[in-house]
């Protein structure tokens, strides 16, 4: 099966290793990723900041790049949520694009959703090591409704121990542009998240969104913690 890979602007620019790991995982589970070369950003930063015109420009471009019938897979819960739930809002007065947006929404999968529901990766016997805890990022959890899938995968890792985090679904303070608009509060929230991670005693923290992981990595670094911060795609790909 061929799938379209949406790398997302953050992974593309800052964390290409997470994108490469996504490719390895998909291939291992029989899905050949096709990377539309013209892809850019889903438009979420503009949408969340109230700039609808810019968000619509990005969305329209996305819908053009990812047109077709293939499933779309992305290593980001918030970008998948943007396409699935907010594109229809952006185009609610534009029937033609609305229909296209709804079709894209039906085709898009966040990576762990695809791995569990389509590829059944958790039944395949992936390996892992050490102790792992998991941050449940907001849009993945609440907008997309992906709650169990990441934990299903992490708990299935042979050789690794999954340690649940207290208040795992509390916001890390990234919040897209929130991080830049109110940096002091953002840092305070990331510090609180880092303390929750520390409380688990895990040697690795993972999640499904690069934005949150970036914010968490900074807090962990500032506090001098020895915890490794890795995107779930990287963590799972290591066990192939």
């Amino acid at each position: 099966m061929n799938v379209l890979l949406f790398g997302t602007c953050l992974v593309d620019t800052f964390f290409p290793e997470a994108g490469e790991a996504t490719v390895r995982l998909l291939r291992r589970f029989g899905a050949e990723p096709v990377f539309p070369k013209g892809q850019t950003c889903c438009g979420q930063p503009a949408f969340n900041a109230g700039f609808d015109a810019a968000a619509r420009a990005a969305a329209e471009h996305f819908l053009w790049e990812f047109d077709g019938n293939m499933p779309i897979v992305t290593p980001s819960g918030s970008c998948a949520a943007m396409v699935k739930h907010h594109y229809p809002q952006l185009f609610r007065d534009d029937p033609k694009r609305l229909a296209k947006a709804k079709r894209a929404g039906e085709r898009i999968y966040e990576l762990t959703q695809f791995l569990v529901h389509v590829a059944k990766a958790h039944e395949a016997g992936l390996r892992g090591k050490g102790t792992v805890t998991y941050h449940a990022s907001c849009h993945l959890t609440r907008t997309l409704g992906v709650r169990e899938e990441p934990m299903t995968l992490l708990s299935s890792l042979k050789g690794a121990t999954f340690l649940p985090m207290p208040d795992a679904a509390r916001c890390c303070g990234f919040g897209g542009t929130f991080m830049a608009k109110l940096p002091e509060i953002s840092i305070a929230l990331a510090d609180e998240k880092a303390a929750s991670i520390e409380a688990t005693g895990a040697d690795t923290v993972t999640g499904c969104d690069s934005g949150c992981l970036m914010n968490i990595a900074d807090a962990v670094r500032r506090r001098g913690m020895k915890v490794r911060v890795a995107h779930i795609a990287q963590l799972l790909a290591e066990g192939l």
């Binding site: 620019t13 900041a49 303070g173 940096p183």
Partner: protein, 455 residues
């Protein structure tokens, strides 16, 4: 005392709050406690989602026909013997109440907790007219003594710890210092008991108003609501028009939802239903009851795109779970209503010009939506206000330019790729310009982005 709105200084306010370790500890502990108790309180409620749907539908029905329900309430309250007044704005409400009290020579007034009275800044107006106004909710009593405003709509003194309260009582009331909540409550009770007995009038708010019977409904934990509304000869209630319920029969759903959402209690200690003044043969009740129905911008909100905020039943659950509120406290928001519901209501009631920084005071994480008992779409409303802020020109020029450029780059792969290359090449400069708290928290762009790594 009057309180200037400081919502424009949200960031400065919050930076100050972040440095206040006592505040942060008190907030964290209180919010955690309420969060846990809320979850426990809802555990035995069968079909919670169905209950929320029902409550949400009742509130929507009220909004769809608000003028009718307000008229129906006013007529029913009149029939029950109350005098109903309508106030379009804060100044009118204050003046109506002052005049009622002054005409009857009232000097000492006891008050139950009412956020609407905070909204219209009632106390300062009455005090300026020479009246003594005593807040009788323990939390309100504490912050009144301190000269502060509530920092939470249910727990006004949430930002204070018991040692601070102990010191305040010792300083102001001349009692020996104690930080035992039981002792402090007893001290307040003794002081307030005297006030209740000698007050000329009582002022209360209302959690709900039943349109069919003209009844006011008050939820309290300390019994002070009952004292305020029944002991003094005169009772004045002030409430905003959207507090209507179609019928008293709708109340049970809200009795089940509001206290659980607010403080994690299955029910509050007292649920008072006040229908008209005391009648012949009644054992308790004020001899005279006046009800002030406040609009203060609600009719305009009702006609606009943000009307869903008027579904809110003021339980404060959204605050307790909001990562921003929990961290910076209610005073940072700079006006009467804090947290997710508060930043929306404040912006709508006081205008974008006075409050636009508030629309950014959310990570839009959605925790508030998850707990709202009447399904107010808080995140959608916040995003809507952000769009309005851009539309009305309150976004700063740098953000406007940046977002315009973002739109262009997102629609043009060549420009996007160029942007990536430039960001990688000039990262040290961007990092320096972006400051340590923003760009300094981001890693450098990869030398080879994903798009150039894949075939």
């Amino acid at each position: 005392m009057t309180h200037e709105q400081t919502s424009l200084a949200f960031r400065e306010n919050s930076v100050r709050a972040l440095k206040d370790s006592a505040l942060r500890a008190a907030m964290k502990q209180a919010a955690d406690t309420f969060g846990t108790k809320r979850a426990d309180a809802f555990a035995p409620v069968a079909d919670l989602e169905g209950l929320r749907d029902r409550a949400s539908a009742i509130r929507e029905e009220v909004l769809a026909n608000l003028p009718m329900y307000v008229d129906r309430f006013a007529a029913a309250a009149n029939r029950a013997g109350a005098v109903v007044h309508r106030a379009n704005d804060a100044a009118t409400a204050r003046e109506i109440i002052r005049k009622i009290l002054a005409d009857r020579g009232a000097r000492l007034i006891v008050k139950g907790k009412s956020m609407v009275s905070e909204e219209v800044d009632l106390n300062s107006h009455l005090e300026a007219a020479g009246m003594e106004v005593v807040e009788t909710d323990l939390g309100e009593y504490i912050i009144q003594m301190e000269g502060e405003t509530p920092s939470h709509i249910i727990v006004p003194a949430i930002h204070k710890n018991r040692r601070q309260v102990g010191k305040l009582f010792a300083d102001r009331l001349g009692v020996p210092y104690s930080d035992d909540p039981q002792v402090l409550t007893k001290i307040a009770r003794t002081a307030l008991r005297e006030k209740f007995l000698s007050a000329d009038a009582g002022i209360s708010g209302a959690n709900f108003a039943a349109a069919d019977t003209g009844s006011l409904v008050l939820f309290t934990n300390e019994g002070n609501g009952r004292m305020v509304t029944t002991v003094p000869p005169l009772h004045v209630a002030i409430l905003s028009i959207e507090k209507m319920l179609p019928s008293l029969a709708d109340l049970p759903a809200f009795i089940r939802l509001l206290p659980r959402s607010a403080t994690g209690q299955p029910i509050t200690s007292y649920v008072s239903v006040v229908t008209g003044p005391r009648k012949t043969g009644d054992a308790t009740g004020a001899k005279e009851l006046h009800i002030v129905l406040l609009d203060n911008g609600r009719t305009e909100i009702l006609a606009g795109e943000s009307r869903d905020i008027l579904k809110c039943i003021r339980c404060g659950a959204c605050m307790n779970v909001c990562p921003v509120y929990r961290t910076v406290g209610g005073h940072s928001y700079g006006w009467t209503y804090p947290g997710p519901m508060g930043l929306i209501l404040t912006t709508l009631l006081t205008g974008m010009a006075k409050s636009h920084p508030l629309v950014d005071a959310s990570t839009v994480c959605g925790a508030c939506v998850e707990v709202c008992p009447v399904r107010v779409p808080l995140v959608d409303l916040i995003l809507q206000l952000r769009r309005r802020k851009v539309r009305e020109g309150f976004s700063d020029p740098a953000t406007m330019r940046g977002m315009a450029l973002f739109g262009k780059a997102a629609a043009s792969p060549a420009l996007f790729a160029l942007g990536q290359r430039l960001a990688a090449a000039f990262w040290p400069v961007i990092r320096a310009l972006g400051g340590k708290d923003v760009a300094g928290r981001m890693p450098a762009p990869a030398k080879t982005p994903l798009r150039r790594r894949l075939p």
